[in-house]
Symmetry: C2
Subunit: 342 residues, 2 copies
Amino acid sequence: MTNKETNLQFRLAARPVGMVKDSDWQQVEEPLRELADGEMLVKVLYLSLDPAMRGWMNDAKSYIRPVGIGEVMRAGGIGVVVESKSSRFAVGDYVQGGTGVQRYWIGPADDKSVGFRKVDAKLAPLPTYLNTLGMPGLTAYFGLIESGQPKAGETVVVSGAAGAVGQTVGQVAKQLGCRVVGIAGGTEKCDFVVDQLGFDACIDYKGGSVKDGLKQHCPDGVDVYFDNVGGEILDTVLTRINMKARIVICGAISQYNNTTPVKGPANYLSLLVNRARMEGIVVFDYADRYHLGIAQLGQWMKEGKIHSKEDIVQGLENFPQALNMLFEGKNFGKLVLQVASE
Amino acid sequence: MTNKETNLQFRLAARPVGMVKDSDWQQVEEPLRELADGEMLVKVLYLSLDPAMRGWMNDAKSYIRPVGIGEVMRAGGIGVVVESKSSRFAVGDYVQGGTGVQRYWIGPADDKSVGFRKVDAKLAPLPTYLNTLGMPGLTAYFGLIESGQPKAGETVVVSGAAGAVGQTVGQVAKQLGCRVVGIAGGTEKCDFVVDQLGFDACIDYKGGSVKDGLKQHCPDGVDVYFDNVGGEILDTVLTRINMKARIVICGAISQYNNTTPVKGPANYLSLLVNRARMEGIVVFDYADRYHLGIAQLGQWMKEGKIHSKEDIVQGLENFPQALNMLFEGKNFGKLVLQVASE
């Protein structure tokens, strides 16, 4: 590593209205500076692209402060330490943390806002740490178990079934003895979650009526609905819930680029009729138990009981288009941007 | 009592569209028949008029079967036994049960679908048994405590604050050590819940902005929202909830006469941001503990800690107009129709 190399950063240039446009980003290329004591230089290998990133770009009160105009876009990533003036990490260590959307991360190795921790490249492919063994997997695991509280024999429905969170929700629910029905867009995704991930059925919302699909595949109604999409699909599932059903609100990807107000669930009074509940979850709340979730998910992966599916797009320069794939339903599996080779 | 008297019944003639019209009712006057063994004749004194009755008139799946066309309209009531061929109740007993909207109830004294039980007219005025010591009071008591789970020092907001359920929700929350803010229509209702019932504040939704009122009166945010109204008010409260807030969905009176689809809560993603939950409740689920609720509410009433406010309209013939008062926000306190004098 020499400081003749340059860093490339994607900074937030403007707060997007609706879908993110190229002009909402500012690409900045600048030379890498020298390290101070306690600092390290991380070459970013993989970035996690997540629906939540769209929310971080809005100037609105949320569970995390918005990315400021002119700031490097926030993103979780995995990289390799290429230079270190810290005893914390050594050159060659693979690390995971909030690298941001850039080619290199540079700063104090113990920066708490970035929260680097080592990952073991021998235990699992690196992208897996951004998926099943990362935030999406933990969101699925804790959200389903803690808020969804599925019991063996119950019917669990999950939207965004082939997506990062949905794929693990369904597989964990199967491990818990539930009937699992996914909702996804397109036959390829639907076939995948049934054939490869072991879901009992999957409803193709692009290819037919979700209502009919629920009638067919959930003959005993819906006990747990894990919602990643909001909008019409949430409203349709609400018409099929059972008494004391639990709806886990994890996201609402159908609504994130709205320029009109969010579509509220018009059928929410089904909660009343069915004494059901709808609860929002954010993975950060389970931080003190992440290790337990990772241990269980890792064990199931090792035993071949659950699988991890990533959709890897190449090249940092493709970040803007890659991010928008999420909102067009174009990714197939957890969306990861590969920034560099190991 | 002689069988020369006639019964007057309000039967459902048509399923209403929007507000209930006079033509949706059929008034039937017919002679009273002789009693068979095991039967009794009850002279109805008071009928409970409730927002839920509007739902029972729709041909839709709900927590209770719809009233059929041509059937006597369902209603809870209190009456006095005027003739009895049953050992279960004696002439002069005051009884409470599903009398229906009629001048007399006649049938087997042990009819489970009606569920008559004795009430003690010496312990409390009879209308109180349709309010604080009846379904509204029990809905408030169990819904607030079981689903709202308020803790001392927390802020509880309740809409329909001067209504049947709301008045008891607020007073019970005060007994539990909460800060209580009501939402009601008009200064008279607002003054009443603050001055007479001891709420800490009340927001007049007709006289100003609910949002501003919440900012002013809930400086620490909202921990529990007990919702009787739905619509815009629910949406506004959603913008002010705290982390881990509990929203109790008890009703949505603003939406019951809609001819357009129900307005879903557009701000429901506040549940996600705040890891909050929204849960529907129906009082029937607590039937095995009604006696505990009545004992506690009765004790508080006896000690003068909570009060009961009824709005009593005279005359069975005024039933259609009286019922519509609920949806126009015209009742002040629990709405009761007095059918006859004791």
